[in-house]
Structure formats: C-alpha cells, structure tokens
C-alpha cells in the first residue's frame, strides 16, 4: 500500500512550515510527529510524578503509563513478555549493558562485522583489555554480508555475535535469521544492533530468535534520549546489573542488596517517563502506518536518487549499487570533493540536510583509507520531489563546484 506522504507530513510540525527543510539525515535522528509531542506533553501536563515508587494517584498513573508503554513496545517487536523490554537512553547504552553484564571472560570471543558503529566496536575493545577477544568479519567487496565467511569464522570460542542489523554506513542488512541460526548452532548468543533496522522494517524478535536487540527511540520518531533493549527473559535474569541504584533493588542493608528482576534491574534511577510514553506512541504511529509500507516507500526514494545520480561523474556509492540492498541509505563520495563541503553546499544552497563524515564508523573508513562520505538517509515523510531537488542540486555542485 503506497504511503499517503502528504497526509503523513501534516503530522510533523517542522514539515508544515512555509519552507520546510529537506531532511535526509534520518539515520541520525528522525522528526517527531505531533502525536509523540502530545504524548510527552501529556506526562508533563497531567501526571508529572515519579513512577514505580510513590503510592499516590499521580505516581500510580505514571507507573501504569510506563507499563502500558512497555506492553506497546513488546507488541511492536513481537516479544513474548513485556518484561523483556528494557527502556534505555539509546542503542549505545543497550549494547554497553550487554557488554558489561553478560559476564564475558578472558578467552571468550565476540564476533562483529567490519562496519560496526563505534557503539558496537568500542565496548569490545574495552573488554579486550580483560582478555576478551574481538574477531572482525570482513564484508564482501561490495560491502554485503559474507555468510560463508561468517560460518567459517564461528567456532566454540565465540560466545557472542554482536552485529549491526542494518548498517548506518551503507544501509546493507545482514541475513539475520541465518546468522542467528548459525550462531546458536555454535552455542553463541546474538546481539543485534537494530538502530537502523527497527525504524524501517518489521522485526519479530521471536521469529528471528534473537537473544538481544538494541535500538534507539529517536531514530524511530521517538523522543531524543530514548531507546529499547530487548532480551530473552531467561537470559536477562542471568545478567548482573550494569548501572545500579534506586529501583534496581528490592531491599538493601548497609552491606547487601537484593536485586530486582528484569526489567527494573536494568532501569536504575528515575526514568525519562515522558520519553518512554512518547516512545511508545512513536511505535504505535509506525505500526499504524505499517513498516512494510515504510520500507517500500524508502526503496522507491532510494531508487530515484540512485538512478538520478548515476550520470554524475566521479560519484561513487558506498556499498552495493543496487538500491534494494541499501534500505533507505545512499552513502557516496564525489572524487575531488570533501564530503563536508558537499553537505554544507547542499544545506546552504537548497536547504537539504544530509550527514557527512565518518558516521561513527571511523574504523571502516580508516581501513579503506577514506576520510568519510556524504550520506542521505530517507524516511516515511520524504517525497519524490525532495529527491528531485537533491539530484538537481548535487548535479550542479558536482558540475560547477569541483
């Protein structure tokens, strides 16, 4: 079903301004619909109290709303139990929680791809100082996932496969079901960095059989500083807490603490209740539109941009040329031009917002001797005419400015 993009855009206040931005930086942060903004305001207007603690009416309202939010997110991901949903600040926190709580020991191996976001690279480097090995699986020359290579890389020492589901570098997705099956066959757990996949494609954690999945709310129309970590309940029960403090314990003495069960064990301190409620509203919004429809829309936009920029001399796409393999991401360089210059010129000349630089995947760019790239990342509210403007502006820049 084709998206009614113009109707969707009416839900986003910034896109209804007289000269709205052409916002192509959705892999970083997405715009927020009025429904999410209203949900956040509802907390502050109607029950701005603390949840999970106070017994008064306002406190109970907060507790109920947070649990409602947890159930909504559970349904969004197809999880079995709302207690498998932990609210975090972002994907980074989710990955760090697993890295620091899983109990990896010296000699254990963590396997990642060669194009991980720093958030799924640095935790393993830090653990490396404690003797945990970090193995990196190279991608194919066109940046697609090397499934054969992955099978060969798996051995009994690999305790955790922690991989980016859809890369923020080039939009390429790993074949998650196959990866998880192979990993499980070898006795390894799987953590998926779903920061770029959860907002754009349907994910059923039970169908995938993934052990842990981390994503960010602000990349899926949710408020800034919100995130979700999913984990199979029996695995979460075995994790020691990452950050401890208020609400992570049932009881304490001066020398002991009785930890809460998940998810509270991993939600220390007062939470961002407004953010959590807004995040749940965002997942409802996406569910109503349908993630398959969103994926199809992004594919159409990406195809338009890929085809429209084919004639630009010196333009090189990062990743496979086939747009169907790149989700809604179009990452590129133009020979003789600094990607930052491209981004700044597009912004100043046509109001087009794209990202430039290393996209927090410095390791991949360093390994390939590159400084960075310019990246277009599309979403449900982008239009074909915006793509036309982008193509025209980029063509002009490449022709006259280089």
């Amino acid at each position: 079903m084709a998206l009614k993009v113009e109707k969707i855009r009416q839900d986003f206040p910034i896109l209804t301004k007289p000269k709205p931005p052409i916002y192509f930086d959705n892999a970083c942060v997405t715009m927020k619909p009025v429904q999410v903004i209203q949900a956040i305001n509802r907390y502050y207007n109607e029950f701005p109290a603390c949840g999970g603690r106070s017994l008064h009416r306002l406190g109970r309202m907060v507790t109920e709303e947070v649990e409602k939010a947890r159930a909504i997110v559970q349904k969004f991901f197809g999880a079995k139990n709302p207690k498998e949903i932990i609210f975090t600040k972002n994907t980074t926190e989710g990955i760090n929680l697993i890295a620091n709580s899983l109990g990896l020991k010296a000699g254990d191996t963590v396997l990642t791809t060669d194009k991980e976001h720093n958030s799924n690279l640095i935790p393993w480097q830090v653990l490396g100082k404690k003797g945990v090995k970090h193995k990196i699986l190279p991608s194919n020359p066109d940046n697609t996932f090397d499934l054969n290579g992955f099978e060969n890389a798996m051995d009994k020492s690999v305790k955790l496969v922690s991989m980016v589901h859809t890369s923020n570098l080039d939009g390429v997705s790993i074949p998650a079901e196959e990866v998880i099956k192979i990993a499980h066959d070898n006795g390894a757990l799987v953590l998926l960095d779903a920061a770029q996949s959860a907002p754009h494609k349907e994910i059923d954690v039970r169908k995938l059989d993934v052990d842990f999945l981390a994503c960010s709310g602000h990349k899926m129309l949710g408020p800034s500083g919100t995130g979700i970590l999913y984990g199979k309940y029996h695995l979460l029960e075995q994790l020691s807490p990452f950050i401890v403090g208020g609400d992570t314990v049932i009881d304490t003495t001066y020398t002991t603490a009785t930890m809460e069960k998940p998810p509270e064990r991993f939600e220390a301190g007062l939470q961002d209740y407004a953010g959590i409620i807004g995040l749940a509203e965002a997942t409802k919004y996406l569910s109503n539109i349908g993630l398959r429809n969103i994926s199809a829309h992004e594919a159409e936009l990406n195809k338009k941009i890929t085809d429209g920029t084919r004639s630009i001399a010196g333009l090189k796409i990062i990743g496979p040329v086939d747009p169907t393999l790149r989700s809604g991401i179009f990452s590129f360089n133009i020979s003789g031009m600094d990607p930052h210059d491209i981004a700044m010129l597009l912004d100043r000349s046509a109001g087009i917002a794209i990202r430039s630089g290393a996209h927090c995947v410095h390791s991949w760019f360093n390994a390939h001797g590159m400084k960075g790239s310019a990246r277009v990342s599309l979403y449900l509210y982008n239009t074909l005419s915006e793509c036309d403007i982008f193509i025209e502006s980029l063509t002009k820049i490449a022709k006259f400015i280089r």
Partner: protein, 218 residues
C-alpha cells in the same frame, strides 16, 4: 589557514558593531590561536565559511564554482581592499578633524569652491567668504598672521566674524603668499596676533579672550 586569519580580522572588526558576527569571530580567533601555537585548526572554520558563501551563490553556479576554486585568492584581494579602504578612511577622518578637509594641508574643501578671492581657501564650519571678509582691513593696527589649511586659523576667523559686527578689524598677514613673514616677524605658530606695541597673542583664542586683546588697541 589564511582564510581563518582573514576571517579573524574581518569578523573581529565587524563583531564590534554587530553581535551576529561574534560567533564567527570567536571561531576564527580560536583557529588563529591554534595555528599560532603550531597546532592544527580543529573546527574546519575555513571550509564552513567557504561553503556558507558559495552556497548562497549557487543561483549562479558557474560564478559559485569560480569563487569556490579561487576562494583564498579572492579572500586576500578583499582583505587588502578592506585594509586600504580602512586606512584611507581613517586618514580622511583625521584630516577632516584637524585640517577641515579630507585631503590634509593644502587640500581643497569639498564643500567649497576654490579661490575665494583672497588666495585663501576657508572651510570654517561652512562659513565661506567669497569676498574679503569684513574684518580684513589693511589699515588696522593689529596684525593677524594665518596660513591656508590651518584649522585653528579658520576657527579664529569665525570669532573675527562675530567681532566684526562690533567694528573690530585686523590686518591680514597671509603667510602662504608672504613666506618672508615667518622670519621677519618670528612667527612660531598660527594663528598669531601682533599688536602695534609688539604684544603677541599666539594660537586660537575664543571671543572673550580675543576681544580683550583687541580692545587694548581700539
């Protein structure tokens, strides 16, 4: 690197008058400071500046491309022109204050036609005699030594104009047409008044002081 230096100067100057440029000035100075301490500039301010300017010119893509490729040279040209203009403006303002005209001693007053008939060009606050002033009298007993382009002489003449209404007269002694007067009368400064008894009044004096001196010889 050069662009940061140029930007620091230009935005630093503009920031004095407008808060809009203070952020740019700060970033440019930060860059210059890092360069001066032999470190790489970490803000890419020069690239941002270039992109900001060229981006606005993209309506004329060929021109934008020209500016983009020659940004450093164009910046140098603008900064040289800026400083030359600033220096010339400063010099002109100085002359206007001190010499009452923009070109300095011997220069012409832009508000006044040359040659008022006395070989004197006077730009005394807009009072421009086109005929010998009323207070000039070759038979007067008090001599008034003056020269062209002397702002205090011009100012004194406005006082003399006021006193002329009360009948005060002086004998004009123009030093430019009679340079021998410098040594003959031992003139050290202009304006100078010398009475018939040799008494001197050196430099500019206001109405009361000059009237007091001239009253000795009425």
């Amino acid at each position: 690197m050069v662009i940061c230096l140029i930007a620091a100067v230009v935005f630093g100057f503009m920031a004095i008058f407008s808060a809009r440029y203070r952020g740019y000035a700060r970033e440019a100075f930060h860059c210059v400071f890092r360069m001066a301490t032999l470190r790489k500039c970490d803000t890419e301010f020069d690239k941002k500046l270039r992109a900001a300017i060229v981006g606005k010119l993209m309506k004329w893509p060929r021109f934008a491309g020209f500016v983009y490729r020659r940004f450093e040279i164009i910046s140098w040209v603008f900064v040289i022109v800026f400083f030359v203009s600033l220096a010339y403006t400063g010099y002109s303002i100085y002359n206007l204050i001190v010499w009452q005209n923009c070109e300095g001693p011997g220069g012409s007053c832009v508000f006044v036609p040359q040659d008022s008939g006395t070989n004197v060009t006077i730009c005394a606050y807009g009072n421009v005699p086109t005929a010998p002033p009323e207070y000039f009298d070759n038979n007067a007993s008090v001599m008034f030594f003056y020269q062209d382009g002397c702002p205090w002489c011009a100012k004194e003449m406005t006082v003399l104009e006021r006193l002329a209404k009360d009948g005060y007269r002086i004998k004009p002694m123009h030093l430019d047409t009679n340079p021998e007067y410098w040594t003959e009368y031992n003139i050290q400064v202009t304006p100078t008044f010398i009475g018939p008894d040799g008494a001197r009044l050196n430099g500019y004096h206001d109405t009361d002081a000059l009237k007091g001196f001239l009253d000795n010889y009425r």
